[in-house]
């Protein structure tokens, strides 16, 4: 089995603690546990993280939250 590469984007460089939390959580969905994390820094995210997992984007960024809020406000 090849190791999966999972890209994680965050506004600040990940701390050890944060990395552990992410690894622990991801291992719940990757049953084999064989994966590596590729880290990327993007300050425009403000807070939270964006995970590129297989063909999915798990967006937990404050930027996206704000965007959604803004759209909700402008819609009505």
């Amino acid at each position: 089995m090849d190791r999966e590469t999972i890209r994680v984007v965050s506004p600040l460089p990940l701390t050890e603690e944060q990395r552990d939390i992410i690894r622990e959580k991801l291992s719940r969905v990757v049953k084999t546990g064989l994966f590596s994390i590729e880290e990327e820094v993007d300050p425009s995210l403000i807070g939270g993280i964006v995970v590129f997992f297989r063909d999915m984007i798990i967006d937990c960024s404050v930027k996206t939250q704000l965007q959604r809020m803004k759209e909700a406000i402008l819609r009505d």
Partner: protein
């Protein structure tokens, strides 16, 4: 002194002859001429009377015609007046409707403009607010908060992902 001789016979014959001669040469032609003249005058008078009658009739018919024309004139004028009033009303109504339409159109457009302005203003305000919030949040973000966000938000996302994957596996296993 007074003597009647046989010349009286000649005188009677003479006078009777004179009566016939005068009848032939005087009375007959004169009476004829008189008759002819009176006939002529009568004829002329009759002609004049007939002409007068004809003229009278003509006058009558002309008067009648004049009357008719006048009536028709009055009738036409009245009709024209009525028609004009109708047309005027129509024009006024059309103009009013046109004006109303234009007014509505402009109202609508103005409303749209105002709405557009409002929405633009709202967007601008939201954009400004977003920028402000973004700046504020960027200044506030710390590794601790980041950790917390990851712990909470990522946890939520993972749970959802897990649920989806569970269903997929179950389906595949069946």
């Amino acid at each position: 002194m007074i003597r009647v001789d046989r010349s009286i016979v000649l005188q009677v014959v003479n006078f009777v002859a004179l009566v016939f001669l005068l009848f032939r040469f005087l009375f007959k032609p004169v009476v004829k001429a008189l008759d002819r003249r009176s006939q002529l005058i009568k004829g002329e008078l009759q002609k004049i009377a007939e002409e007068k009658e004809t003229l009278e009739k003509m006058k009558q018919s002309l008067l009648e015609e004049k009357k008719n024309l006048k009536e028709e004139y009055v009738r036409t004028i009245d009709q024209a007046r009525l028609e004009a009033a109708k047309i005027k009303e129509e024009i006024v109504r059309e103009a009013f409707e046109e004006g109303e339409k234009i007014r509505k159109e402009y109202e609508k457009r103005a409303k749209k403009e105002v709405e557009k302005l409002f929405s633009t203003m709202k967007e601008e305000m939201v954009n400004v607010a977003e920028e402000v919030i973004k700046k504020f949040l960027q200044s506030q973000i710390t590794p601790e908060i980041q950790t917390q966000i990851i712990a909470n938000m990522f946890e939520e996302a993972m749970k959802q992902l897990e649920a989806v994957m569970e269903v997929g596996h179950g389906q595949r296993n069946d």
